[in-house]
Symmetry: C2
DNA sequence: TCATTGTTTTAGAATTATTCTAAATCTAAT
DNA sequence: ATTAGATTTAGAATAATTCTAAAACAATGA
């Protein structure tokens, strides 16, 4: 998923118009499975030597979320992570270190529609297990 | 849990010094099981005719969280709810209406310490099931 | 009771993540 | 190459939350 051809296909497959900035952002974001903030991604793209505005990073992340390319993980009011891995999985969050770690196994409870409030459909299950360093 | 004596005992049991503002805030917050934002609670307290500053509402909610009286629920970067019910439970969040609804049953997966990252201990399991209105 | 001391509250300023704005630039299609 | 619509941009605006430092309060004990 690292080279140009794959990135272009990835965006195209998700009906995202190709632009220079979107390719740059996707290149950096999908270089590996990772959890990044918008700010971190903005810095990472700048460090490649490319020029991109912060607004574009926010716009593009929002677009990628809507198109199902990345997943938002809300940790607290000042920490939103973007997860380059959209497969069904959950997270450990270490409140002492700030680390966000994937939980590989499918440990989420299995919900069926009858469990949901009447008139609603499932959007996504967000499970965050907060841990602290044991002293 | 609604009257003065109970509120005082509740705070005292959690090693919280009694002050006029803390009682006012607790009175309003624990009047019933509810999910409120800091802003909503601030308005609700003001509507009782009492004078409290917004900073105190934030300070007091932070204190109550640390002392285990209320639970924070992070929905997104601009929505933090305070849950007056600290019993083990989880939430549905309706992305269309903004409603946060308790899940009564214990549907969270059962985690044991061996599942956690090495050197960490469980803090809390936060499970939010996002739903949308089915059209 | 009143003086002392540490705690709490306050208004408003500061901070910070995110969104908005409107002009400039780019892209795709003629 | 021209046009029209989409995208990007810098910087301003917004909004939730935290900070600051001064004033008010609560608890203690002489």
């Amino acid at each position: 998923m690292v080279d140009r051809v794959h990135i272009d296909k990835l965006l195209d497959d998700h009906n995202i118009n190709l632009t220079r900035q979107r390719r740059l952002i996707a290149d950096t974001l999908f270089a590996r499975h990772q959890h990044v903030t918008a700010e971190q991604l903005f810095e990472a793209v700048k460090n490649t030597g490319a020029r991109v505005s912060k607004a574009t990073v926010y716009n593009t992340l929002g677009l990628f979320v809507r198109k199902g390319l990345v997943r938002e993980v809300f940790i607290d009011s000042s920490r939103t992570f973007y997860d380059s891995n959209t497969s069904h999985h959950h997270h450990f969050y270490n409140v002492d270190t700030g680390d966000l770690i994937d939980i590989k196994e499918r440990l989420a409870p299995h919900f069926v529609d009858s469990d949901l409030p009447a008139g609603t459909a499932m959007e996504i299950v967000d499970l965050v297990i907060r841990v602290r360093n044991s002293s």
